[in-house]
Every structure is written in structure tokens, then in C-alpha cells.
């Protein structure tokens, strides 16, 4: 059947051509002009977010408030969405008007690709004061001068310590410097007669629970990226300081003993969390741990504090690590005006932010909301995290065109480094630089 085979060949070519056409002409190239000030937005907005269950219900509450305040706008909420899926949908012209992303990892990609619109025209037109957002938080919601996202609540990481164990060891206050931390860790560590670890004062392995390089970097003020988006890891001596400190402590325990101890610990997200069980006396974790501790380990007397800092810079004490959820308007939004109205409400209305922060037990993301954080502010343990959030030496992982590639490239190297014999990691870090920069090139 020659005619059929020819038909097949033709349709094969057509299929291929169609592919190229489809992938080449994704819609929405030109950004729509912004309406004049004072225009009241109306119509329907589709809003995708990743929350599920109880937290999704909290979102619904706030959206209902928004609808009451903006009767001309209807919001269709879709919960349980996935970031990659959202990007694919936007690429195919099927995305939402407003999207909420789980992680700041996506900001670089969403801004650089234009998947999310630059909000600057709206912000300028409506006179939104960005100074009310702390600078660190501002930095993780824009990329290369494009403000394509707004911060939607935040997670703040600080230091947890077991008050009972510290008192037993005669340590009066939580450590403020890395040296104090190492000393306290050694004092608080208990070994069995055979030398295996029974309790670790501080478990310094990278990759243990929240002990990622990202969460510890603020202690030494280590820098991730240069202004041009290339890796700064190999050239910033702060990393060497952190690594030397960490490796010394690891070797004090013995890597094999630590790894064996780590393997024996319960899951981070279960009631068997090593801190709940008193198996580690101090650790770095997010503000959400407070709720878990109160719920699952009522008898543990814990305290919260800022992250200990480099001995060379005791004045940095008070900060920690911050990251958050980010929200933006899709380039394929059918109704960008109404979409912006929703985002503006969710991210700048003090009442809405405080209410949501209290419902989800996260950190509110504007200074106005921080000043009057409702019940969260009356909680002494939580208050520590509000203060960390606002502290000038609190830092974040900056948006990058390659998402979390720089963090994960470093983590991968550190997994090997901490397991190996003590040595100078400089060459290894340079190699990490090279990998990251190559990835930046590939994605660019």
C-alpha cells in the first residue's frame, strides 16, 4: 500500500512540524498594558496553590474575605497544585491567573522565563510601598531586577535547645558563637561504654534534618552567588570557616559513629524526632517546630534563639535563615488586573497577612504585620522567630536561573567531604563553582 505509507510519512512530518509550531508559539508574548489608577478590577480569577486539607481551608477563609471586600471579583481556588505542572500549564497557555509556589527555588525560573509577569507597573501605579517588606524577603522575590513575585508568608530558621539538658550540663545560656556551640555540643554529648553515641549535643552532619548548608550559612555570612548569577562559593572564605568548624566537630565525634547514630534516629516529621526524644540537645530548625514540640513532646522544655554566629563577628548575632512561599501572576492570565488585586490583598493587606499567618502558624511577611502580629506575638518562643525575621543579618538563598542547583551541588560535595579525611576543601569548592556555572550556562 504505497499510498498509505506515503500518507504515514506525510503525517509524520506534519506531526513533527506541529510540534515545533506548538512549542514555538506559546501564547501571551506581549505584556498587557496596565489600566489607569483607580480602575476597579472585576471578573474571575483562577488561583492555584499547593496547600491541602486544613491549610487549604485557611486559604479559603482569606479568599472569602477578599471576595467580601471586592464584590466584583470572583476567585476560583484550586488546591494541591504542583510547581512543575504549573509551569507546564503556563507554557501551554492553560495556566492559572494567580499561582502560589511552594519555594523560592522557582523565582529565578519564573522571572527569567517570563512565566510570571513583572509586577512593577502595578506596584508603581498603586503606590505599594515595598520598603514595608524586609530587604532579605524583597531579594528572594525578584530576579535580575524583575519583580515577578510577592512574598506570601515565610519560614524562619533559628536555634532550638533543650533547656533541661543545658541546665544539667551547667550551660546557662544558648551558645552565641560557633565556638560556644562546639563547646556546648561536646559537653552535652553522652557516649555509651563502647564509644557509640547515645546523645549528641549538636549533630553537625550536613543533610541531617534541617542542617543543610543553606540553613547554616547565615552563621558565617557565607555568600552563594555573585551579582552576575555565577557561584561565589569557591571564592568566599566564609564557607571555608563554616566547613572547617563543621569538619572539626564531625571528627571529634568520628564520622562513622555519627552516621550510625544518625541512622538510628527517628524521622524528622514524626514524634520520634531526635530533638523531641532528647537524643540531640540543640539543633537548627524552622519556626514550625514549635507547634510540633507542643503537640508531640509536651514534656520537653525547649528554648528558641537566633543562630550562633562566627567568632569573628559576634555583632551579627540575632539572625537566622529565612525563606518563603511566593505568589505571582501568570503571563497567560486572562484577567491580570483582578489577579493583581488578589495578590495585593494577600501580600500587603496587614489584616489579611496577620490572619493567615495565625491560621497557618507561619511568619507574616511585612513590617506592619510584624509590628502587630496578633496572637503569634504573644508567644515568647515564636516571638524569637519574628525578631530573627526582621534582623539585618538574617539571610536567604538567592533566586537563581538554575533554581536550587547551587545548594544541591554544594550539598552533594559536602556529603563526600564530611565523610572523608580532614583536608582543605578549597579545590573541591572551586569544582562546585565550575559545576554550578556550567549549569547556569546550560539553562541560560
Amino acid at each position: 500500500m504505497p499510498s498509505l505509507s506515503r500518507k504515514i510519512r506525510i503525517s509524520s512530518v506534519m506531526a513533527t512540524a506541529a510540534l515545533l509550531a506548538v512549542s514555538a508559539c506559546t501564547p501571551g508574548e506581549a505584556e498587557k498594558p496596565v489600566a489607569s489608577p483607580g480602575t476597579e478590577a472585576s471578573g474571575t480569577v483562577e488561583f492555584w496553590h499547593f496547600f491541602t486539607d486544613r491549610e487549604a481551608a485557611a486559604i479559603d477563609t482569606i479568599v472569602a474575605d477578599f471576595k467580601a471586600a471586592h464584590p466584583k471579583i470572583d476567585v476560583v481556588v484550586k488546591s494541591g497544585q504542583d510547581d512543575t505542572k504549573m509551569l507546564q500549564a503556563i507554557g501551554a497557555g492553560q495556566g492559572p491567573d494567580v499561582g502560589l509556589s511552594y519555594s523560592t527555588d522557582t523565582v529565578g525560573k519564573f522571572c527569567a522565563s517570563g512565566a510570571w509577569l513583572d509586577l512593577k507597573p502595578y506596584i508603581e501605579r498603586d503606590g505599594v510601598d515595598l520598603a514595608k517588606i524586609p530587604p532579605t524577603v524583597r531579594s528572594y522575590t525578584e530576579f535580575k531586577g524583575r519583580r515577578c513575585a510577592m512574598p506570601f508568608l515565610a519560614d524562619t530558621y533559628g536555634f532550638y535547645y533543650n533547656k533541661t539538658l543545658l541546665a544539667e550540663a551547667g550551660i546557662a545560656a544558648p551558645p552565641k558563637t560557633l565556638t560556644e556551640l562546639a563547646d556546648a555540643a561536646k559537653k552535652l554529648t553522652k557516649r555509651k561504654p563502647d564509644g557509640t553515641i547515645e546523645r549528641a549535643g549538636f549533630l553537625p552532619l550536613f543533610g541531617f534534618y534541617e542542617h543543610s548548608p543553606s540553613h547554616l550559612a547565615p552563621a558565617v555570612g557565607a555568600k552563594w552567588l555573585n551579582d552576575d548569577g555565577t557561584s561565589a562559593i569557591g571564592s568566599d572564605p566564609a564557607w571555608l570557616e563554616l566547613l572547617k568548624w563543621q569538619k572539626d566537630l564531625v571528627d571529634w565525634y568520628g564520622f562513622d559513629k555519627l552516621e550510625k547514630f544518625r541512622a538510628s534516629l527517628g524521622d524528622e516529621w514524626s514524634a520520634d524526632n531526635a530533638f523531641h526524644k532528647g537524643q540531640v540537645a540543640m539543633m537548627v530548625d524552622g519556626e514550625y517546630r514549635i507547634a510540633f514540640l507542643r503537640d508531640q513532646a509536651k514534656d520537653v522544655k525547649f528554648g528558641t534563639a537566633p543562630l550562633p554566629v562566627s567568632d569573628a563577628h559576634p555583632d551579627w548575632y540575632g539572625g537566622g535563615y529565612v525563606t518563603g512561599n511566593v505568589i505571582g501572576v501568570s503571563k497567560t492570565a486572562k484577567n491580570p488586573e483582578a489577579a493583581w488585586a488578589l495578590i495585593r490583598y494577600l501580600t500587603t493587606d496587614t489584616g489579611a497577612i496577620v490572619k493567615l499567618a495565625n491560621l497557618i502558624k507561619n511568619v507574616p511577611s511585612t513590617t506592619d504585620a510584624l509590628a502587630a502580629p496578633g496572637d503569634l506575638g504573644n508567644d515568647a518562643d515564636f516571638k524569637v522567630f519574628l525578631d530573627i525575621f526582621a534582623h539585618p543579618h538574617t539571610s536567604t538563598t538567592p533566586p537563581s536561573a538554575v533554581g536550587p542547583a547551587y545548594e544541591e551541588a554544594l550539598s552533594t560535595y559536602l556529603q563526600k567531604y564530611q565523610a572523608g579525611p580532614a583536608g582543605d576543601p578549597s579545590a573541591g569548592l572551586k569544582d562546585v563553582d565550575k559545576q554550578i556555572n556550567q549549569l547556569v550556562q546550560l539553562a541560560g
Binding site: 515545533l20 541512622a263 524528622e268 516529621w269 538554575v402 556529603q415 559545576q435 539553562a443
Partner: protein, 324 residues
């Protein structure tokens, strides 16, 4: 009819015979086409189209949102100097070499065992198959949790027997062998295929063999094996292809073992735990393409995976041509 008529018609010599031959051939082709048409279309849409797309994307930089931009050989050049790809490929090849034969042997053994049951066969089959029926994420979580060195019952049981168990999924040396155990646990799918084939072996062939005085080993070698060979070939080929794409179990096992059993968005930070020993090739492909946004490069990796899978498959099919 096709084969038979073609053979017979081949002997025809007269001009009239040649005419009917052509007619018959056309009819035969139409018959084949009536069987194959949907699948031929399927080949276009689900093989040619994605493959052409993948090859094209592999020469571009692509972010899912904007049109792909041609970058020539850049992705391919990077492939040669990407240290992660080498490590990931080594892990994946290890799994192909160990996991595929292990699963085939295990499935054949359990299949042979089950084929001998008449009463209670349904219950045993269901029990053996159960792990393959469980959603992969929950199944992997449960399995890895039982092997947790400090808290899991496996090492507790071993300790009761006076054996100090290894760190299983928490040790760079044991993590991949532990994944093989996980694969053996979920053997049900292969077992059922082998069982169906084993039960289909004509009984009279066994009877004839046993009349000839063949013992159990000989019967297996000369009756069972040839009869189930096509299915063994199927298991080997699909086993290799699936293991080259080994993804979910490696991701979940690493996250549970690292002590962060979560399904949250940050899951890729635990990929490969411990020390990269479970970082497979498809995990790197996914991470680099969808987490780091280098989708062009991810497609380069996919094309390489395709070529490797195709090469291995063609070699296997040739080697076992007699079973085709």
C-alpha cells in the same frame, strides 16, 4: 493464511498465477494492516513525535515557557564533562546488572513454586502479589521503614539472633543491595507472567520427557525453559528498560532513609542519600531538567538513555533470536 498462501503461491509459474499472487499479496497486506493500523498510528504519535521532539530539544535551551532556542552542540559537549552523569549512570548500570537478573531468578523460583499448588493457589498468589499492588510510594516507605537501622524490626530481629545488621538504606555500600531487596519484594508482577507461562506448558511434553527417563532438572532444561523462553526474553528486555528508568523507589527510599519522609516540594534535596549511592540516571535527568530548568540538557540525557536502551534491546533480541 498469509504465510500458507504465500508459500504455496510461490510455486505458481504461469502468468495467471502471478496475477493472483499479486492480488493475494495485496489482500494479505490489507489483512496485516487491519491488525496493525492503530498501533502504526500510535508509533507516530507516541514514538516518532516525542523522539523527534526530544532530539530537537537536545540541541536547544528550553524552559517550558518560551520557544526553544537553538544552541547547537552545547548540551552534548556538557554531557562529556558532567561528573554527575557519570556517577548516576554507574549507579543505574549497577542496578541493571544486579536487579534485573535477581528479579528474574526470584520470580521464576516463586512462579515454579506457585505452579505446583492446586488448592490454596489463589490465596498464595494474592499474598505474593500484594506488594506489587500497593501504590509505589507507600510501599517503598513501608519497606524502608522496616529496615531502619535503629528503629526497624529487621535489625531488632537480627540482633535477637545475635547478628549485627548492616545500616541498609543508610549505608553507601548497602543502599543499592537494599534497593535490590525492595525489588525482590515487589516481584509479583514478573511472577504472575512466569506463572501464566509455566501453566501453559503442554503437560504431554512433561509426560513424554518423563517416559524418556528425564529427571526434574532435565525436564526443566529441555521442556520448561524452551516453552517459557519468549516470556523470559520479555522479562529481560522490559526489566532492562524499566531499570534504566528507575526513579520513584530510589527517590522515596533516600528520603525515608535520610530521616525526612516527606512528599513536599524539596524532596530532591535528599536524592541519592547516602553519599549519592542511590542517585540514578533518571533522577539526575529530572533534577537537571525540571528543578534546575535545563530542559534542553535533560533531553540530551533522555536521548542517550533511549539509545542505550535500544542498543541493549537489539543485542538481546539478536542473541535470543531463536525465541523470537
Amino acid at each position: 493464511m498469509v504465510a500458507v498462501t504465500a508459500k504455496r503461491a510461490g510455486r505458481a509459474t504461469s502468468a495467471a498465477g502471478a496475477a493472483t499472487l499479486r492480488q493475494r499479496r495485496r489482500r494479505d497486506r490489507l489483512t496485516v494492516l487491519s491488525f496493525m493500523a492503530p498501533v502504526l498510528l500510535g508509533l507516530l504519535v507516541f514514538l516518532v513525535y516525542p523522539l523527534v521532539a526530544s532530539v530537537y530539544f537536545s540541541f536547544t535551551t528550553f524552559d517550558l515557557v518560551n520557544a526553544p532556542r537553538w544552541v547547537g552542540l552545547r548540551n552534548w559537549e556538557h554531557l562529556l564533562q558532567d561528573p554527575n552523569v557519570r556517577k548516576a549512570a554507574a549507579n543505574t548500570l549497577w542496578l541493571v546488572v544486579v536487579l534485573v537478573p535477581a528479579r528474574m531468578l526470584g520470580a521464576l523460583a516463586t512462579g515454579l513454586l506457585l505452579a505446583r499448588f492446586k488448592r490454596g493457589a489463589g490465596v498464595y498468589r494474592t499474598l505474593f502479589y500484594l506488594p506489587a499492588l500497593a501504590p509505589p510510594v507507600a510501599a517503598t516507605l513501608a519497606f524502608v521503614f522496616l529496615f531502619k537501622p535503629g528503629t526497624g524490626p529487621v535489625n531488632t530481629l537480627l540482633a535477637d539472633l545475635g547478628i549485627q545488621g548492616p545500616l541498609w538504606f543508610n549505608s553507601p555500600e548497602w543502599a543499592k543491595p537494599s534497593l535490590v531487596l525492595l525489588g525482590l519484594w515487589g516481584i509479583g508482577d514478573l511472577m504472575i507472567i512466569f506463572l501464566a507461562a509455566l501453566l501453559d506448558v503442554p503437560k504431554e511434553q512433561y509426560e513424554a520427557a518423563s517416559l524418556d527417563g528425564a529427571n526434574a532438572v532435565h525436564q526443566f532444561r529441555y521442556v520448561t525453559l524452551p516453552n517459557i523462553a519468549p516470556v523470559l526474553l520479555f522479562a529481560a528486555v522490559t526489566g532492562v528498560i524499566q531499570t534504566l528508568q528507575y526513579f520513584t523507589q530510589a527517590a522515596v527510599a533516600a528520603s525515608v532513609a535520610s530521616g525526612q519522609a516527606t512528599t513536599g516540594g524539596g524532596i530532591s534535596s535528599t536524592f541519592g542519600y547516602p553519599e549519592g549511592s542511590t542517585f540514578t540516571y533518571p533522577l539526575w535527568l529530572y533534577v537537571v531538567g525540571f528543578r534546575y530548568g535545563a530542559l534542553g540538557y535533560a533531553n540530551t540525557l533522555a536521548v542517550v538513555l533511549f539509545v542505550v536502551a535500544a542498543a541493549v534491546t537489539v543485542v538481546m533480541l539478536r542473541r535470543f533470536r531463536s525465541f523470537l
